[in-house]
Symmetry: C2
Subunit: 369 residues, 2 copies
Amino acid sequence: MSGPGPSNSLTDVEGLRVGHVTMAGDGYLTGTTVVLGPDAGMVAGADVRGGAPGTRETDLLDPSAAMERINAIVLTGGSAFGLAAADGVANELADRGIGFRVGSGDREVVPIVPAAVLFDLGRGGTFRATPDAETGRLAVRAALAGSTPEQGCVGAGTGAAVAHLKGGVGTASIVLDDGTTVAALVVVNAIGSPVDPLTGALSGARLLHRDDVDALIVPAAEESAAVLEAARPRGPVRDQPFDAQVLKNTTVGVIATDATLTKAQCRKLAGIGHDGLARTVNPVHTLLDGDSLFGLSTERRPPPDPVDLHEILCAAGDLVSRAVIRAILAATGTRTEAGYWPAYTDLAPSAVGRYPDPSQGISETEEQP
Amino acid sequence: MSGPGPSNSLTDVEGLRVGHVTMAGDGYLTGTTVVLGPDAGMVAGADVRGGAPGTRETDLLDPSAAMERINAIVLTGGSAFGLAAADGVANELADRGIGFRVGSGDREVVPIVPAAVLFDLGRGGTFRATPDAETGRLAVRAALAGSTPEQGCVGAGTGAAVAHLKGGVGTASIVLDDGTTVAALVVVNAIGSPVDPLTGALSGARLLHRDDVDALIVPAAEESAAVLEAARPRGPVRDQPFDAQVLKNTTVGVIATDATLTKAQCRKLAGIGHDGLARTVNPVHTLLDGDSLFGLSTERRPPPDPVDLHEILCAAGDLVSRAVIRAILAATGTRTEAGYWPAYTDLAPSAVGRYPDPSQGISETEEQP
C-alpha cells in the first residue's frame, strides 16, 4: 500500500538535496530555496500557468531545446531582483566543478539553473531587501549539508502570504506500490484563498494522505469568521493601479520522482501538478499570479511503463495539494513594520492538531499557541 | 449581488445558441452539440490540457494566427470519426452565407468551426455508429431553433461517462456585479472520479452557487459504498494494451462571455476554466484524457478593465465546476448491449434533491427514481 516516504519530503527522492536561506529582520522578510540535483544532473520540465511569472532558463526546458539535464532549481523571494540568487547558485556549483561540461578543465562547466521567483518585496519593511547572488551560494552550501527540508516560514517561503494569511514552504512525498518515489515542494504565495468559504476549513483537506485525515476539521464557529476574513482573496483592488498589483503573488515549486522521465514527461508532471494547486487555492493561475512548477527526474529507477507513468502523474496532483496544506499549517504568524500576516493555525486552532502520528512531519503546528 | 442568469445556461450569453443532436438506440449512444456564435462571429481561444486530445482548427486560435473570429464550436462524440460533424456544420453555415468572406458571392464564405471530440465508441453496441456530417447539419438547425440547452444525456453527452458513472452535458451561468454574463457548457467524460473518496459526496459541491448549496449532501452510509465503487477511476488497466486505452476519455467544453476579449484573453479564460475541472474530477488532464476547453467572447459589451477581467477569469473556474456537477446530476442511468452506466443520483438519491428553488435549472434530478 502506498504511503509517504521516510521524511514525507522532497528529499525522499534519492539524489535531491534542499537548502533554505532565511532572511528575516533588519527590513528583510524573504529568502531562497535551492533544489540541488545529483552531480550528474537531472531531467527537468516546466509548466508556467500564472499570468505574471518571473522565471529564468525555462525556455531551455522545452522538450525541443538542447540540454538534457539541469543541475539545480532555484525558488526565491525578491521578485525579479531575486533571480540574482540563481547567479550565485551557478557560480557556487561551477566552483565545485558541477555543471554542463564545455571544456577540459575541472571548472570549465556551465551550471544549468532554472529559477522561479515570487513577490515579497517590502514585506519586511525595506523594498529592496532581497536575496542576491551570495544568498544563492549560501543556499547551495545549505543543500550540501543535507537534511530534511524545513517547512513554513523558511527559505523562499519566509515572506510568502496566501490571501491575507501567512504562507510558506510545504513538502510531501509518496512511495508508490512499485517502489517509485514521487515528492513535491511548493512555496505558497497566492492571491487566492486556501479556505472553503462555507466553513473556514482548508479546501484541500480531503486530499491529505489517509494518515493525516483526522488532523483537519471544520473550525469552531467562533473561529470561522476570522479565518474567512483573513482568507478573502487579496485583491485586485480598484483604488490602486492594476499594473502595480501584478507580480505580487505566485506559487512556485517542484514535483520530482526517481523514475526516469523525458523532458516532455517532466513538463507533464509539472502540468498535472497545477491541478493540485487548483484544488487547494481558489482562484489560482490568475493574471496576478505567476504560478510556475517544475517537474524533475533523478533517473535512479528505470523508465515507467505507461500505467506506472499514469500513476506517477496522478500522484503529482495530490502531492502538490498536500504540500500546499502542509505549508499553510507549518506557517507561523508574522508581524513586521510593514504588516501582520496571521497563520491559519493562529485563527483556527480548533481545526488542527489531532495528528495520529506527529512524525509524519506536520508537528510544526504544535508550536502554534 | 452576482448570481446565475435567467436560464443558468450558456445561452444567457447573448448571441450564443446551442443545438444538440442525440443518437441513441440501434447501436448508437453518441451525439453532437454545436455552439453557434453571432452571425458576425465570435472571438475564441483554446487550452488543451489533456494528453490525448482530438481537435480541429485549434492552431488557428493561437493569438499569433490569423482569423480574428470564428463561427461555431463543435463538441462531439465519435472520437476522431466525430470530427466529420464539424464538416457538416461548416457546410450548413456556408449554405446560409455565414462564415469568413473570401469572395463577392453570398455563399463565398469559409465558416471557421473549431471542434473537440470525446470517446464514446462502441458504448451503444456498434463501434462505428458515430456522428457524421449530417449530424452536424442537424445540430446547426437545432441551434437556430433556439431554446435553453438541455443537460444530461443529450448531444455530445449522450454516450459520456465519468469513472464508471454516467456523464453528460452540464451548463451554468453567472451575471457579475457590473452586468457582464459569463457561462460554461461542458461534456463530462473523464477517466477520473467526481466523488470525494472519503464520503461519496460530489467533490466540487462546495463550488455550486450559494442558492444551490443545500442541494448536495453527503450520501447515506448505505449508499456510499456503491457510489465509491462506481466512482473509482476508470483505468488504466494492465491487462489491455495501454495504447488502446488512450483517447477513451475527455472532458470538452466552452466558457463564454459577452465582454469583449482578445484571442489571448479567450485562451486564458479557457485555461483558468481547467482549474474548475481539477476541483471536480480527480485525476484529470492525464495522458488518457483529451481535456480541451474553448474560451469565447461575443463582444456585446466593452472590453473589461483589468479588475473586471480578473473577475471574469475567476468566474470561469467556478462555472466549469458548477457545469460539471450539473452534468453529473442531470445524467440518467443508461444500459445498452455494451454496458451499464448508473447515474450518481441512482446510487446516492439521499445526496441530492433538496433544492431551494427548482427553477434554478437543476430540476432534472427530480426525474430520477
